[in-house]
């Protein structure tokens, strides 16, 4: 297998030890379906141009600068070198500033993962850091300039190697406490909880990313075909929410359903057997994907 070129080369430094490492992108995010922007009136493709908001004249890329609005309509202009001067000099070093227990890490801060592999001569120190962290069930927090931005990187052992995940800054994340603050504090106990746990256990399985396929593109192709042929596609009907009074009944019926289907489904087909009773009764428009 051909190994991709490293996206970054540098060092991890912990307790006076510097380990030469190479960093590689883990995930490439691919745009699946590309729509083009058209002019509805003419049906032609459109281009994007940048114009001065007052004069309407086109502004070439080299004439565009960053501006920070200090008062209404009053800007401080920042040239690229001004922005660059705020970023510390890159010393190509991921300096470990602290270790944190893995089970305390708030994963909501995660940005992008990178594989970290030892560069030549770096293997001994690399393995020590990896094995030490694994034994202590901790990950390391380091800071460095990556791709011209100062980043905090969470470094953790992963099989034979290390994974470095860039983290979002505190002000880029809303905490879950804040997000869920207004929710009522309902604790579910007794029969309802037991029934729901039973349903969950009958649906026990695993996530297999390799088996997952994005069906959106083919669904859009289907939509286009229907439009050309002048057919209407069946609309998805909003399900009716379970009313609090009916919740226990819905759980009992669900539990009875899954128990009846004891031989577990082997594949992850999304068409759900659980609602098939209802579906047969109420509509014939339900689609099997």
């Amino acid at each position: 297998m051909v190994v991709a070129r490293a996206n970054w080369k540098g060092f991890i430094k912990f307790g006076g030890v510097a380990v030469a490492v190479k960093l590689y992108t883990v995930a490439s995010s691919s745009e699946r379906i590309a729509f083009h922007t058209l002019n509805r009136v003419t049906g032609n493709r459109v281009r994007r141009v940048f114009v001065d908001s007052e004069t309407g004249d086109p502004v070439e890329p080299e004439e565009q600068v960053k501006g920070y609005e200090v008062e209404n309509g009053d800007f401080v202009v920042l040239e690229p070198e001004d922005v660059a001067s705020a970023i510390p000099e890159s010393d190509k070093t991921l300096k470990v500033e602290a270790f944190v227990p893995c089970n305390e890490i708030d994963d909501v801060y995660f940005d992008k993962p990178y594989y970290l592999a030892p560069d030549k001569m770096g293997a001994d120190g690399f393995k020590l850091l990896r094995d030490g962290m694994r034994k202590g069930r901790v990950a390391a927090l380091a800071r460095t300039v990556l791709f011209r931005r100062l980043r905090t990187v969470l470094i953790r052992p992963h099989n034979n190697g290390l994974i470095g995940t860039t983290l979002n800054f505190d002000y880029e994340i809303r905490s879950s406490e804040e997000a869920f603050d207004q929710l009522p504090d309902l604790k579910i106990e007794g029969e309802m909880l037991e029934l729901a746990k039973h349903i969950i256990n009958t649906k026990k399985g695993s996530f297999d990313p390799k088996a997952f396929d994005d069906r959106y593109e083919s669904a859009v192709a289907e939509l286009v075909k229907a439009k050309i042929e002048g057919r209407a596609l069946p609309k998805e009907r909003a399900p009716s929410p379970s009313k609090p009074g009916d919740l226990l009944q819905a759980l009992r019926e669900s539990a009875a359903l899954v128990s009846a289907r004891k031989p577990k489904r082997s594949s992850q087909k999304t068409d759900d057997g659980a609602s098939s009773r209802k579906a047969q009764r109420s509509s014939r428009s339900k689609r099997t994907a």
């Binding site: 307790g15 459109v46 141009v49 944190v100 880029e172 879950s176 929710l183 349903i199 959106y216 019926e253």
Partner: protein, 269 residues
């Protein structure tokens, strides 16, 4: 401040259904944001669409999505039409599979969202699903169409709510063996590992969001403030004697930060 939901729909477990809403965990509101200016006039630069054939500017409402059927052959698709795409999970998160909570490697986590009940009528059903997952130490796996893609998603109970992660596609994650296969697996000297463990222990701290503070943003605000003083001209203001800016740098920083927040909030286009 209540955020506008990014997505609204239903959460479903077998015959139990509740209305839910979803907001991104990431937020731009406190980030220093810049506008693009024309260097010569200092006016803002705006993006406009022009017709590729006629060269004429077009109105925003005339810009529409086109699905490419062949060379120079497009079918126009309105947003409302796209919403009718025939997938059963554009409006419903039907939890189909549950997996042990530690079985999904962090590497698959893509983007986090916060999921919560959307109407009081759904609060109890939502809590049932959340608490059952929590007490079994399981996460839910489902499918959801968002941002014009069908995504695998993971639902994880968190406090009074649920964190929903989009998961990466199988073909997006590169095979680690290409990178780690060459690392020799001979064991490290146990004595030295012990030493490393001691060092690690000394430097181990509790997780705290202060660990992900950003010194660069503060520095940027300082640079902006310095430039502002330097270039202070009575340009567009009619006031001849503007109030002297307080010399206390901390106050200025606070003021700037507040203005960032205020400005970003209304700056959403």
């Amino acid at each position: 401040m209540a955020l506008r939901p990014y997505w609204k729909g239903y959460l479903k477990l077998s015959l139990v259904t509740c209305p839910v809403q979803m907001t991104p965990a990431t937020s731009e509101s406190e980030k220093v944001r810049f506008h693009t200016l024309n260097r010569v006039t200092h006016n803002r630069v705006m993006s406009r669409y022009v017709d590729a054939v006629t060269g004429k500017e077009i109105e925003d409402e005339d810009a529409v999505k086109g699905y490419q059927k062949g060379e120079d052959d497009y079918v126009i698709l309105e947003d409302e039409e796209l919403e009718n795409v025939a997938l059963d999970n554009t409006k419903t998160i039907d939890i189909d599979v549950f997996a042990p909570s530690d079985s999904i490697e962090w590497i698959w986590l893509d983007t986090p969202y916060y999921l919560s009940p959307n109407e009081p009528v759904g609060e109890e059903a939502f809590s049932v699903i959340r608490d059952a997952m929590a007490s079994e130490d399981m996460v839910g796996i489902s499918r959801l169409v968002i941002s014009r893609r069908e995504r695998a998603v993971m639902l994880e109970p968190r406090g009074k709510g649920i964190v929903l992660w989009t998961l990466r596609y199988g073909d997006e994650v590169r095979d680690e063996n290409a990178y780690f296969g060459g690392v020799d697996d001979s064991p490290s000297d146990p004595e030295v590992v012990l030493l490393v463990q001691q060092l690690i222990k000394k430097q181990t701290r509790h997780w705290d969001s202060k660990l992900v503070a950003d010194p660069v943003q503060d520095k940027l605000l300082e640079i902006i403030e310095a430039k502002r003083k330097q270039t202070k001209r009575p340009a567009k203001t009619k006031e001849i004697n503007p109030k002297p800016a307080p010399s206390n740098v901390i106050n200025i920083m606070d003021a700037l930060r507040k203005s960032v927040e205020g400005e970003n909030r209304r700056g959403k286009r």
